[in-house]
């Protein structure tokens, strides 16, 4: 792995466990196992720049994972319920670790770190746009699709925080059933 990737991956791991503010640049250097000077050589913007790169990488990986789950099967409500249930099983089995730090970092930096807020806004926007495309391809109306995907992201982010806090997969499973019930109320047009 290249030096910049090692630094970005170390930052991502530290942010998953302890968030942005609690993560010090010395910890990143140590966890990445890189020489002191190389960090600022690769990331002149320091911690905020590394965090931005790490969040974009994880955001893209997570979109691919969730998008893959939502693209499965013929029936969108069933795919939604299944995607949330699978998130519940995953987080139970890995011991309540934060699987994707985008949402929690968003909450932490929205006021305190304007540059990072904009990075996370881009990530949320691309999640929504990609999700809308998936849902429209299934025959739903574009405005319904946008509303559904926005609510899905909100419910997934909120349910992850509740699951980690309550040490229970139920908030994820329950949010998935709720979102599936809501999706079932939306009209579907021509389906392939």
């Amino acid at each position: 792995m290249q030096t910049d990737q090692r630094i970005s991956l170390a930052m991502a791991e530290l942010m998953r466990r302890q968030g942005y503010a609690a993560t010090g640049i010395k910890q990143v250097i140590e966890a990445a196992g890189v020489p002191n000077g190389s960090l600022y050589h690769h990331f002149p913007g320091g911690k905020s720049e590394i965090a931005g790169v790490a969040l974009r990488t994880m955001g893209a990986a997570y979109a691919e994972l969730v998008g893959g789950l939502l693209a499965d099967g013929d029936d969108l409500p069933a795919a939604i319920e299944q995607a949330f249930a699978s998130a519940a099983t995953d987080i139970e089995s890995i011991g309540w670790v934060n699987m994707c730090p985008v949402g929690t970092i968003a909450g932490e930096v929205a006021e305190a770190e304007p540059a990072l807020r904009e990075v996370v806004a881009d990530i949320f926007t691309s999640w929504i746009d990609e999700g809308v495309e998936l849902v429209v391809r299934r025959g739903y109306r574009a405005d319904d699709a946008r509303e559904l995907v926005t609510a899905l992201v909100a419910a997934l982010e909120g349910a992850f925080v509740m699951a980690r806090t309550l040490r229970s997969g139920e908030p994820l499973r329950g949010a998935g059933r709720a979102m599936a019930a809501y999706a079932s109320t939306l009209p579907v047009g021509v389906r392939r």
Copy 2:
């Protein structure tokens, strides 16, 4: 206001803006305007204890606010949509400030601060229990009520983070419409 309340309120305000890790004990003392020694006199457990008290206070206030909105009117789906829309209007008008830090602190401390995680777990549990009581009183089945309220809390928390990040009330309004549509699918028994 008493010294311990001033300290707890200062902590709450700082956590709203910058989260738990970024808030230093010196900042709390300065913002509260109290002498140095009085902080550890009132809170021997230091920052974590103050944060716990501040979160419990804000959690209770927020439960009362949201509970009041959900208790309004005859129709639960309409009350849900209205409560989310009112949250959207509020956060737009106050400039995307974090209105209730419970959810964001939960995401930040779930792994790093076990004592605070337990405080937040208690708060989430009491929100759910109080919400279930409200919904059951409207004639819904207890298991449906629990699933609905859990999903409501998840969607509200997630939509707040998205709204603050995207600088838009739409995630809150959309999540409200989604949750209202879901609530409309649940059977309602005898209503007064």
